[in-house]
């Protein structure tokens, strides 16, 4: 039995060796078979090299030469997950902080009461520019947030048709109001740049918490460090959303699809942070501080408000306009 087993193993081994040799040696009969794909382009290889596959098309639309761009998947992840988290946390976070602040600190009161005398803070033109930009901003913000949050939040409430109709008009508004908004940002940049260059006073203002915590009133010129921050957020943030927004509005004029994905990422991230910052701006300009709204409302503020919040500016104005009439009290009296 043992010898038969050994023999069969030997025979099997010999056969296996023979088969291996036949397979390894190129058989002369089938040598003419060619493999046309040996040098051909390979999909996975191209994707690994560039993460996109591009070629030539014979139709007029040359942009359709991009055959595959799996980068769209990353953009999808950003648009559906990352952006919703960043936007949600930023906007709800600022709202929560404002509510907590309002409940604990309340409205920042005019400590010395109203003097009954007012001083011009913003001219009609300045207020017009502010409110034009602000109106556009609110509509742009709502229509923009609708694109990101409308599908999970609003669509289930009002249904497909109504939501689509609203979104269509929101999109038109978003596109067309971008023009007056951009003009507003440019005008804001030009007309308030002089008062918004950071200086030494700002460092002291920031160190003293801007007077928001406690009842301090750190001195400030026309714009304090907080207002300067808002100014630069508007100018830089507005500039970024405008530039990237136009890139998306006019597809393929500036960049191809990868550029549009990047533009949408920059546009939406800057926009949600912009909205969050503006919530704080709206808060402090309305219910957050007594006497603040009238600066942009009627254009004039109470002299005591100016003395408490913008001492150095008031001194400048007093010295410049009516040096004999006003007889400004020393700043210490108001403190």
């Amino acid at each position: 039995m043992g010898s038969i087993g050994r023999f069969s193993r030997l025979a099997f081994g010999a056969w296996a060796l023979l088969l291996l040799l036949v397979a390894a040696a190129p058989a002369p009969s089938s040598a003419q078979q060619v493999n046309p794909t040996a040098s051909s382009v390979k999909e996975q290889q191209l994707l690994q090299e560039l993460n996109r596959i591009q070629g030539r098309v014979s139709i007029p639309d040359q942009r359709s030469g991009v055959l595959e761009q799996p980068a769209g998947r990353d953009w999808r992840e950003f648009r559906n997950v990352t952006l919703r988290w960043v936007g949600g946390i930023a906007i709800l976070g600022v709202l929560a902080v404002l509510v907590i602040f309002y409940l604990s600190r309340g409205m920042v009161r005019l400590e010395s009461g109203r003097s009954g005398r007012s001083i011009v803070r913003f001219t009609t033109f300045e207020r017009f520019v502010h409110w034009m930009t602000a109106t556009c901003f609110i509509i742009l913000a709502l229509s923009g947030l609708n694109i990101t949050f409308g599908r999970p939040l609003l669509l289930p409430l009002i249904g497909f048709e109504a939501f689509s109709e609203w979104s269509q008009w929101a999109k038109y508004a978003h596109n067309y109001l971008s023009f007056p908004f951009t003009i507003g940002v440019v005008l804001i940049f030009l007309m308030w740049i002089a008062g918004n260059i950071p200086n030494k006073v700002d460092i002291d203002w920031i160190k003293r918490g801007g007077g928001l915590v406690g009842h301090d009133h750190p001195p400030a010129y026309r714009f304090n460090a907080g207002q300067k921050a808002i100014y630069w957020i508007v100018v830089i943030g507005g500039g970024l959303v405008a530039a990237t927004g136009y890139e998306l509005m006019f597809p393929f004029y500036v960049t191809g699809i990868e550029g549009m994905q990047t533009a949408q990422i920059v546009h939406s991230i800057v926009a949600v942070l912009f909205v969050a910052a503006m919530l704080a701006h709206i808060y402090i300009g309305t219910i957050g501080m007594e006497g603040a709204f009238e600066a942009m409302g009627s254009g004039t503020v109470d002299v005591n408000w100016a003395r408490e919040h913008h001492t150095l500016w008031l001194e400048e104005e007093m010295a410049r306009t009516r040096p004999n009439d006003a007889q400004p009290q020393p700043a210490t009296a108001a403190e």
Binding site: S39, G55, D61, S64, E68, G72, P251, I257
Partner: protein, 198 residues
């Protein structure tokens, strides 16, 4: 139910553009819009390949996922369709699509792309099958008539296959076995997260 797919056998495509023409004619696609196009890679160089590409009707379609108004839906045959009544022309599906399928009638026009248009796998849209409204918006509904997409039907080299994914994969596999080579099912991994072993 079948799971409809496209498969372009790049080793047979001769870039004749018959699929492009067939599609444009069958659906009376407006000027400037191409639901299907043929892309040639390494044009004129060794290893050149041409691939006919349209909407691949992806599994877990990215366009449907990113659409702000949720205008996409997948039919029982796995065909990804959309409603032009709901579409607001924002362009998001185009950013997400791996295959550049979504097309806009007014690309580049002042702030308005118009309603998105794309390959329907010759399956029309949400309107009643074969109705005039459906034809005007989405083109012919051949699937409802029991026919397969015209691009693949017209393909002169039978490079472009359209139909149930398992059947066309089987046809492709047999081809590869018989001729001994194949450069794979282009776009399948991206669209369906699977590829055909050859």
């Amino acid at each position: 139910m079948a799971r409809m797919k496209f498969l372009c056998d790049a080793d047979r495509c001769i870039e004749c553009n018959a699929c492009v023409t067939a599609c444009k004619n069958e659906h009376e696609v407006p000027w400037g819009i191409n639901r299907r196009r043929v892309v040639t890679i390494n044009d004129g160089k060794p290893g050149e390949r041409s691939i006919s590409m349209a909407c691949m009707h992806c599994t877990d379609a990215p366009c449907a996922a990113v659409c702000p108004v949720n205008c996409f839906y997948t039919t029982a045959d796995g065909v990804v369709l959309h409603s032009k009544d709901l579409c607001i022309g924002c362009g998001y599906c185009f950013y997400a699509c791996p295959f550049g399928a979504p097309q806009y009638p007014k690309v580049g026009n002042f702030g308005s792309r118009g309603k998105m248009d794309k390959c329907t796998f010759c399956a029309g849209g949400p309107e009643a099958d074969g109705s005039k409204e459906e034809y005007d918006k989405y083109g012919a509904n051949r699937l409802a008539e029991g026919k397969l997409p015209l691009c693949a039907e017209m393909c002169s080299t039978k490079s472009l296959l359209a139909g149930d994914g398992e059947i066309i994969a089987q046809i492709y596999k047999e081809r590869v076995m018989k001729r001994g080579y194949g450069s794979g099912a282009w776009g399948w991994k991206t669209a369906y997260r699977e590829t055909i072993e050859s």
